[in-house]
């Protein structure tokens, strides 16, 4: 899994590429937690290049979003989902608790509204 970060106006935009599963979920969680420890509380997770998400990936998304909201007055916005990943978000119910955007810019700007 390739993980890249771009910071704009205190929002950390993290672009993932590859499979978000039991082999890679730890790395994603560790990467975001390090940013949280440094004081960042607003994240955009760009998943446009994520072709697959398993329960391990879903769980990381849920626990990070919950922690940001409950402990840091922040949030995790999701940007750009491939159709199959979007459907997994829907059947697992994640679309009901997360803000999902069609592009990274809108997801980032939503923090300043």
């Amino acid at each position: 899994m390739k993980i890249e970060e771009n910071i704009l106006n205190d929002v950390s935009s993290i672009k993932l590429e590859g499979r978000f599963d039991a082999n890679t979920s730890d790395a994603v969680e560790k990467f975001i937690r390090e940013k949280i420890e440094k004081g960042c509380s607003q994240f955009v997770l760009n998943m446009g290049n994520v072709s697959f998400i398993s329960s391990a990936g879903l769980r990381v998304v849920i626990i990070i979003a919950r922690e940001l909201r409950n402990e840091h007055q922040g949030d995790l916005h999701i940007a750009v989902l491939q159709p199959s990943v979007k459907r997994v978000f829907e059947i697992s119910g994640l679309n009901n608790i997360l803000k999902i955007f069609n592009d990274e810019q809108t997801a980032t700007e939503a923090f300043s509204k």
């Binding site: 039991a22 879903l58 199959s84 997994v88 697992s92 119910g93 994640l94």
Partner: protein, 312 residues
């Protein structure tokens, strides 16, 4: 091996309510009118065509599963489903002594509350043995039947065998392995092998860390089984909200089953707050998850319901 599910609900017995029953009848009648049913002969096919949540109830009795293998009767857990299994054993026995081996995952209420109502225990001629790695199982079960809680004490018919969780043991020609699960107070999984078939009963377990390395001890234990009976009490979101309550969900079960090359995955320990429609919707979503993420994997998914039986 033959398996039959006598109790599939988690936490507390959950009888079908009159309102739920009336909704099923009303829906069935409306669908019958729509289908143009005019005669008795059409009824069997019509009933067969109804959605599962209308023509069936998953059931409200708590954990109890029967396995018959090598001439032995094994009972997994002794929740309220044990009561009707006991009556059936008496009917089947034709008056002959009953021999049954009861493997206990743990002693939370939903896994022990059928014991006071297990009628075969009322006869000292029957040979009924409990197995568990927990120390003091007899004392735990006896406390459930203290006079403050129940009018009769624990039956003296029962015998107790303390298991070593690291040692395979046998009941006749049936081989049994044990593995500890993640549940408050502890719980154990049983891997039951007879001939070249295996069934694993793994209820009441939570998997908080889902990385390959974290789940490997479990997927190693589950590896290659013909049937994995898996705790899927919660949805994915509830599983995070109810952290440390000791249960799991269908998506985690699917990923672990695929990693372990399981053939059939049976979801059990259903949330008492879920009605039949919700449970069958969860099953459909689970099947869609497999279709999306693992379209080439031949994993069969089943929702455990009272009366589900099959031969492996």
């Amino acid at each position: 091996m033959y398996i039959r599910f006598w109790g599939v609900r988690g936490s507390i017995a959950t009888p079908l309510t009159n309102v739920e029953l009336e909704v099923k009848i009303e829906t069935a009648v409306k669908l019958g009118i729509k289908a143009g049913i005019t005669g008795d002969s059409q009824v069997p096919d019509f009933l067969e065509s109804l959605p599962l949540h209308i023509r069936r109830t998953v059931g409200g009795d708590t954990a109890c599963v029967e396995i018959q293998a090598g001439g032995k009767i094994l009972i997994l857990d002794a929740g309220t489903g044990l009561r009707r299994l006991g009556l059936d054993l008496i009917k089947r026995s034709g008056g002959n002594p009953i021999e049954a081996h009861i493997l206990m995952t743990h002693t939370h209420w939903d896994h022990i509350s059928g014991i006071p109502f297990f009628v075969p225990a009322f006869s000292s001629e029957n040979n009924l043995t409990f197995y568990s790695p927990f120390p003091g199982l007899k004392e735990r079960l006896a406390r459930q039947q203290n006079s403050e809680y129940f009018p009769a004490p624990l039956s003296p018919t029962f015998r107790f065998v303390r298991l070593n969780e690291h040692t395979q043991f046998q009941i006749g020609d049936v081989k049994i392995d044990i593995f500890p699960l993640n549940h408050p107070g502890g719980s154990y999984s049983y891997r039951i092998t007879y001939g070249n078939k295996t069934i694993i009963y793994a209820t009441d377990s939570e998997y908080k860390e889902l990385s390959v390395n974290s789940v490997k001890p479990f997927t190693d234990f589950f590896h290659g089984t013909d049937m994995l009976i898996f705790d899927a009490q919660y949805t994915m979101l509830e599983n995070v909200e109810k952290e440390d309550w000791g249960h799991s969900n269908v998506f985690t079960g699917i990923d672990m089953a695929i990693e372990a090359k399981v053939k059939k995955l049976v979801f059990i320990h259903h949330e008492p707050g879920y009605n039949d429609e919700k449970l069958y919707t969860i099953l459909l979503k689970a099947k869609e998850y497999v279709d999306i993420n693992h379209p080439k994997v031949p994993l069969e998914l089943l929702l455990a319901y009272e009366g589900l039986c099959m031969t492996l």
